[in-house]
C-alpha cells in the first residue's frame, strides 16, 4: 500500500520538487500551501504522515501541528529552516515527532519518513509493566494501548515506541544516541534535543508529577531508564 503524505509548505517550487521525489519513492503526496487550509486538507486526505513547514502564511506551522495533534497521533515531520534550539524545541513540544533542517538531502528525508511509517511489524502478544508499585504503567504492545491504574493513556505512535523501547529493558540505561537509533531510526548520532523533548512530553502524559519522575528516570550524564517497582 502506498503511503499518503500531506505536504504543508508555502513554497511552490519546493512543494513541486518534493512531489517529484516523493512520487519517485512510492508515496502518494498531496499539497496545501497555507496554514488556514491545512486542517480541512488533513481531514479530507487522512494522510499516513505529514510534512510540515514551520513558517507558513495564515496559521503558523506550530499551530497547525497542535491542531493536528489534538485530533490525531499521525507522524509529523517538521521541515524547518531554523536550527536554533528554541525553534526546534518549540516545534517538538507542539507535537512534531521529528524534524529535518533545510536544506536537507532527499534521502535523509525519505529515511526519516520511512522510520516513522515503519510500524505494526511485531504482532507477538506482549504485555509490559513498568513504574513503582501503586503507580504502574501497563503497555499492551500489539494493541498499542497504554494504561495507568486501569485508565487509558493516549500516546502518539512515537511516544508509544519510546515508552516500549525503555520498558522492554527496564533497569537498562539508554543513552540518547541509542534511543535516537532505536526509536527514530537515525544511523549516526543526531540531535539529542529530540529525545529530551519527547521524554518530557511522555512524562507529562504518564507521570503523576512530571517534575519528579518515577517511571522514566534521568541518569545524569548518561541518559534515561525505565523505573521499576
Amino acid at each position: 500500500m502506498r503511503a499518503r503524505v500531506l505536504v504543508v509548505d508555502d513554497d511552490p517550487a519546493l512543494a513541486e520538487m518534493l512531489g517529484i521525489v516523493l512520487r519517485s519513492e512510492g508515496f502518494l503526496p498531496s499539497f496545501v500551501a497555507d496554514g488556514e487550509r491545512a486542517m480541512p486538507a488533513f481531514r479530507e486526505t487522512r494522510p499516513d504522515i505529514v510534512l510540515l513547514d514551520l513558517m507558513l502564511p495564515g496559521m503558523s506551522g506550530i499551530d497547525v501541528c497542535r491542531a493536528i495533534r489534538a485530533e490525531s497521533g499521525v507522524p509529523i515531520v517538521m521541515l524547518t529552516a531554523k536550527s536554533d534550539t528554541v525553534d526546534v524545541v518549540l516545534g517538538l513540544e507542539s507535537g512534531a515527532d521529528d524534524y529535518v533542517i533545510k536544506p536537507f538531502k532527499p534521502k535523509e528525508l525519505i529515511a526519516r519518513m520511512r522510520a516513522r511509517l515503519r510500524r505494526g511489524e511485531d504482532v507477538t502478544p506482549e504485555l509490559l509493566t513498568i513504574g513503582p508499585s501503586g503507580n504502574q504503567i501497563t503497555i499492551d504492545v500489539p494493541a498499542h494501548t497504554v494504561s495507568r491504574n486501569g485508565d487509558d493513556v493516549k500516546l502518539t505512535p512515537l511516544e508509544f515506541d519510546l515508552l516500549v523501547a525503555l520498558a522492554r529493558k527496564p533497569r537498562q540505561v539508554f543513552t540518547r544516541e541509542v534511543l535516537l537509533e532505536q526509536v527514530w531510526g537515525y544511523r549516526h548520532a543526531a540531535d539529542t534535543r529530540l529525545v529530551n523533548v519527547h521524554v518530557q512530553r511522555l512524562r507529562a502524559k504518564i507521570e503523576p508529577d512530571p517534575e519528579r519522575p518515577e517511571i522514566i528516570l534521568t541518569v545524569r550524564g548518561v541518559g534515561y531508564k525505565a523505573g521499576t517497582g
Binding site: V21, D84, V86, K102, P103, P106, H188, G221
Partner: protein, 573 residues
C-alpha cells in the same frame, strides 16, 4: 596534684597562656585594624570629619596656647610693674625713716615702725602684700604683719638674698610655697637693699600671686573650653556638609548600580538649582541617553536576529529545492552524456560546499547577534571523542592518518552543549587530519575537579609564532597557495572559538614550524564556572622537554623566543 606540682604546672603553662592571650589580642587588633581601614577607605564622610577634626584641633590648640600664654604673660607683667614701683617707693620711705632716727637699732622700735609705716597704707584696690626686713646683714628677719597675716620667711630664699646683697639693686623671684597651710601657692618676692647709717638693711615684699594664677587659669579654661567647643562644632559642620554632598553622591551611585543591573528607567530626583541638582540632572540625562542607546541597540540586535532568521529561511528554502533537484540529477547521471553527467557531479559537490558555507555563516552571524544559547547538560565526553574520530575515520584513511586516542578509563562528565562540542571537536580533529602530512594525530582527553580539556596534536607543518592567534580569524588560511583537502569553509575555527567562549571555556593553539601544532579546548566541568587552569599543558610534552636539554643554538634561541609568549600563557593555564 600537690600544691607544688600545681605551681610548677602553672609556671610551665604560663608562657603558653600568655602567648595565647597575646596571639588573641594581636589577632583581634588586626581584625579591628582591618575593619577600621576598610571603613576609612569606604566612607568619604568619615575621612573628611576625621581630617577636619585633626586639622582644627591642631589650629585651635596652637591658637589657644598662644592666647593663654600671652594673657598670662601680660597679667604677670602688670603685676610685676606695680610691685616694683611699690618696692622702690617703699625703699625710699624706709631710707628716709632710717636716716631720721639716729640710732637705727634694728631690734627696736625703729625697724618695726618703718615696717608698720610701710604697711600702714592700705591702698584701695591695690595689691595685697607683706613686708619683711632684715635689719642687718645676717640678722633674722622681722616681718610686718599686714595682710595676709603670714610668716613670709620661707618665701625669701637665700638665692634672692644673695642677689640683693651682692647686686645692691632691686631683685625679684617667683616662688611656690605653702605659707598659709592651704597648699602651695605662687608668690612674687621682691627684695631691695636700703642704705642706712648703720649699714645696709634688706627690705622684702611678698606679693601673693593667687589672683593672677586664678585669672590665668580662668583664661586657660575659657580658651580650652572654647577651643574644644569650636573643634566639635567644626567636626559637626564638616559632618553635616559632607552628608549634604555625600548623600546625593551615594544616591547617584545606587541609582547607577540599579541602572547597570538593567533597571533602565531609574532616575534621580532633581531638587533646587545647585550643583547637586546639576549632578542629578546630568545623571538623569546620561541615564536617558543610555536608555535610548540601549533600546536602540536592542532593537537593532532584534532586527539583526530577525534578519538572520529571515535570511536563513529565505535562502534555505530555494537551496533545498536546488539540492533535491541536484540529487535527482546526480542519481540519474549514468543515463546522461559525459559532459552533463560531470556537470551534475560538480553541481552536487559545490552544493555541499555552498551548504556548509551558508550554515557556518549563519552560525557566525548568530554569535555576532548574541543569539547563540548554551544548551548544556551533563555529558560523558569519552564517547563524544570516539564518535567524532569514528565519523572522521574515512577522511583520515584517505589522508593516511591514524588516530592515537589517549582517553581516561572512566567517564569524563562535564556540563556541555553536545551539539557544539561535537562541532568543535570535528573541526579540530578534521583540521589536524588535513595538516598532519600522514603522521598520526593524537587526541588527549583529561579532567580535573573543575575543568576538562581535549588536546588535538598533529605533527604536520606546524604554525609560525604569530599564527597561533591568526588561525582563529575568519577566512584565514595558513598558506593560501596550498591545496585544500577537505574544503573547509574558513570559518570552522572561528565558530569553534565562539562555541568554546559560550561555554566559558578556552580554545588555544600552539605550533612551531616543522614540529606540528596542538589545539587545546578547555571547558569548565560545571557550566557557568570560571576557568583558572587546564588539565593539559598547551605545549605538548614531547616538545617542551628537548628544548631544555639541548644547548641553545642561535636558531633554538630564536625558536624559544617565539615560543615564549605561548609558554607564558601555558604557565597561566
Amino acid at each position: 596534684m600537690t600544691p607544688s606540682g600545681l605551681l610548677t604546672s602553672l609556671v610551665r603553662h604560663a608562657p603558653t597562656a600568655v602567648q595565647a592571650v597575646r596571639r588573641t589580642v594581636v589577632a583581634r587588633t588586626r581584625t579591628g585594624w582591618v575593619a577600621v581601614r576598610r571603613t576609612w577607605r569606604q566612607s568619604l564622610q568619615l575621612r573628611i570629619v576625621t581630617i577636619t577634626l585633626c586639622v582644627s584641633t591642631l589650629l585651635v590648640g596652637t591658637f589657644g596656647i598662644l592666647v593663654a600664654s600671652m594673657i598670662t604673660k601680660g597679667l604677670l607683667q602688670t603685676e610685676t610693674a606695680t610691685a616694683e614701683r611699690k618696692v622702690r617707693d617703699g625703699a625710699i620711705v624706709a631710707a628716709q625713716q632710717m636716716k631720721g632716727s639716729d640710732d637705727a637699732d634694728p631690734n627696736r622700735g625703729g625697724v618695726t615702725g618703718v615696717l608698720t609705716q610701710l604697711t600702714d597704707r592700705p591702698e584701695q584696690g591695690g595689691q595685697r602684700f607683706t613686708v619683711a626686713m632684715v635689719p642687718k646683714m645676717g640678722e633674722p628677719l622681722i616681718t610686718a604683719k599686714y595682710w595676709p597675716d603670714l610668716d613670709v620667711r620661707p618665701a625669701i630664699t637665700d638665692e634672692l638674698r644673695r642677689e640683693v646683697q651682692t647686686s645692691r639693686e632691686v631683685a625679684h623671684q617667683i616662688v611656690t610655697r605653702d605659707l598659709d597651710g592651704d597648699g602651695p601657692q605662687r608668690y612674687l618676692v621682691y627684695g631691695v637693699p636700703v642704705e642706712t647709717v648703720s649699714g645696709t638693711v634688706e627690705l622684702y615684699y611678698v606679693f601673693p600671686l593667687a589672683d593672677t594664677v586664678a585669672m590665668a587659669n580662668l583664661v586657660a579654661t575659657t580658651v580650652s573650653v572654647t577651643g574644644i567647643a569650636l573643634v566639635v562644632l567644626l567636626a559637626l559642620i564638616a559632618a553635616i556638609v559632607t552628608r549634604l554632598v555625600v548623600r546625593p553622591v551615594r544616591l547617584a551611585a545606587r541609582t547607577a548600580q540599579r541602572l547597570s543591573a538593567g533597571l533602565l528607567d531609574q532616575r534621580m530626583t532633581v531638587r533646587g538649582e545647585d550643583d547637586l541638582a546639576l549632578l542629578a540632572g546630568s545623571f538623569n540625562q546620561m541615564a536617558e541617553n543610555l536608555q535610548r542607546q540601549i533600546v536602540r541597540l536592542e532593537e537593532m540586535s532584534r532586527l539583526q536576529r530577525r534578519f538572520t532568521s529571515d535570511v536563513s529561511h529565505e535562502l534555505r528554502t530555494p537551496l533545498t529545492t536546488v539540492r533535491m533537484a541536484a540529487d535527482l540529477l546526480f542519481s540519474e547521471r549514468a543515463d546522461f552524456d559525459p559532459i552533463v553527467a560531470r556537470s551534475a557531479e560538480l553541481l552536487q559537490l559545490e552544493l555541499d560546499r555552498f551548504e556548509a558555507l551558508l550554515t557556518d555563516l549563519l552560525e557566525i552571524s548568530r554569535f555576532d547577534a548574541g543569539f547563540a544559547m548554551l544548551d548544556a547538560e551533563p555529558t560523558d565526553l569519552v564517547p563524544i571523542v570516539r564518535s567524532v574520530t569514528g565519523g572522521l575515520g574515512a577522511v583520515a584513511d584517505r589522508a593516511g592518518v591514524a588516530f592515537d586516542l589517549d582517553l581516561p578509563d572512566g567517564p569524563v562528565i562535564a556540563e556541555v552543549d553536545v551539539r557544539r562540542i561535537e562541532r568543535v571537536l570535528r573541526n579540530l580533529i578534521g583540521n589536524a587530519v588535513d595538516h598532519a602530512n600522514g603522521q598520526p594525530v593524537r587526541v588527549t582527553l583529561r579532567a580535573n575537579d573543575t575543568a576538562v580539556a581535549v588536546a588535538v596534536r598533529d605533527h604536520g607543518v606546524g604554525l609560525r609564532s604569530d599564527e597561533d592567534k591568526l588561525v582563529f580569524n575568519r577566512f584565514w588560511r595558513a598558506d593560501p597557495s596550498r591545496a585544500r583537502q577537505t574544503g573547509g569553509t574558513g570559518l570552522g575555527l572561528s565558530i569553534s572559538l565562539e562555541d568554546a567562549r559560550l561555554h566559558g571555556g578556552w580554545l588555544e593553539a600552539w605550533g612551531e614550524p616543522g614540529r606540528g601544532a596542538q589545539f587545546r579546548l578547555t571547558l569548565p566541568a560545571r557550566a557557568g564556572d570560571r576557568l583558572v587552569a587546564s588539565p593539559i599543558t598547551l605545549i605538548p610534552d614531547d616538545v617542551a622537554e628537548p628544548a631544555e636539554s639541548v644547548p641553545p643554538a642561535p636558531e633554538a634561541v630564536a625558536a624559544l623566543t617565539a615560543v615564549l609568549p605561548s609558554l607564558r600563557r601555558a604557565s597561566h593555564g
